[in-house]
Symmetry: C2
Subunit: 245 residues, 2 copies
Amino acid sequence: MTELLRPEEFERRLRQIGADRYHSLHPFHRMLHEGKLNKGQVQAWVLNRFYYQYSIPLKDASLLSRAEDPAFRRAWIQRILDHDGTSAETGGIERWLVLAEGVGLDRDRVRALVGILPATRFAVDAYVRFVRERTLLEAVASSLTELFAPDLHKTRIAALLENYDFANERTLAYFRTRLTQAPRDVEFGLSYVLREARTRDQQELALAALRFKTDVLWAQLDALYYAYVSPGFIPPGAFVPEDRR
Amino acid sequence: MTELLRPEEFERRLRQIGADRYHSLHPFHRMLHEGKLNKGQVQAWVLNRFYYQYSIPLKDASLLSRAEDPAFRRAWIQRILDHDGTSAETGGIERWLVLAEGVGLDRDRVRALVGILPATRFAVDAYVRFVRERTLLEAVASSLTELFAPDLHKTRIAALLENYDFANERTLAYFRTRLTQAPRDVEFGLSYVLREARTRDQQELALAALRFKTDVLWAQLDALYYAYVSPGFIPPGAFVPEDRR
């Protein structure tokens, strides 16, 4: 583990992590995209995924707080602006709340994080803490799941429009917007990682960071599956769909 | 220490801290504004103050990383955008570098933080750490020295233009810009503190945070005075003006 990987090989290994481990492969996402989730299960997904959306700007701001280069910050701050928007009616968090209303959830209860699965919190909080505590290189590398997101979002938009009544351009605006934002973000992040990982050890740390991030995403779907698909054990205090009340 | 202060009294005590302790009262600032600093002393001031400018966006991003309300973040992020700008040619850090060149310093050495006084680092780093570790209320309260900044900056622009050859609208653009930015920022910060300090204990914490921040600013000028005015003990590794080489 001492020889530096050539950039093409390093990038290939980063991309391979997506092919092997990205949450597009998870049974819960397969069910979602095949129209096999019922209303309560879709609601549980939207509600829990909100906690991830809610946490992303906090993660990006903590990364920003350790980025000493103004040019780096000028690029990275765009992510926070994308999520928070420039007014209460704009931004990714707001678009996710529109989706939440579209699937029949109460906006205020979602915003107040009522009924989020503990396992969702643990996984997402682990991600925020990882970015806060690890090197900037690892923090940036952990964002590279965005390499794999546009394909997933393209599939998702088509699949949801085909399979669910709630799906329309308004409720799916979050995903539509990410189709253009994610490639811009990931181009910056990928070149940073390819450039700043200057030793083999750093390259391995970057690969491990991206694997960690795929674990974070995967664990969120595991939690949804166990609670709302099979065996269907909803933990105390977590969201209970109408048909299970 | 149990009775809640009425908002007017709380605000009066916050403002009193400025009247008693703001660094406008420091002998080094008096000398600066009276045209009594020589070239090397002005350079030392500009160089060391750069470390503060350099650190401010890191401080604000760490505050942002703990601010869970998107509306709060939308307001606070403006401070980072102001400092970093939207391109390499804009923003407060760049304007400070223009001032540094104007007083005859080398831009690249300033950016690389060569020759900053250790005491400057200790004071500024203490501020960054304070904002990172204390409550959001204390973090915001510590920013309220901006209540007192516009008066200082107005005096400064006139005083520098009158007393120093390097001073012109281009080199002083940093201060001119802050005349409009600081009041907007402080309006937001002050109403936040007045609203969110809901117990007398919290009010006292906010007052202590603002006092702490005045200490941070004061200590930076103490360090400059000791090293470059009297007794003139320049610590090993710190910037040495030409006439002292």
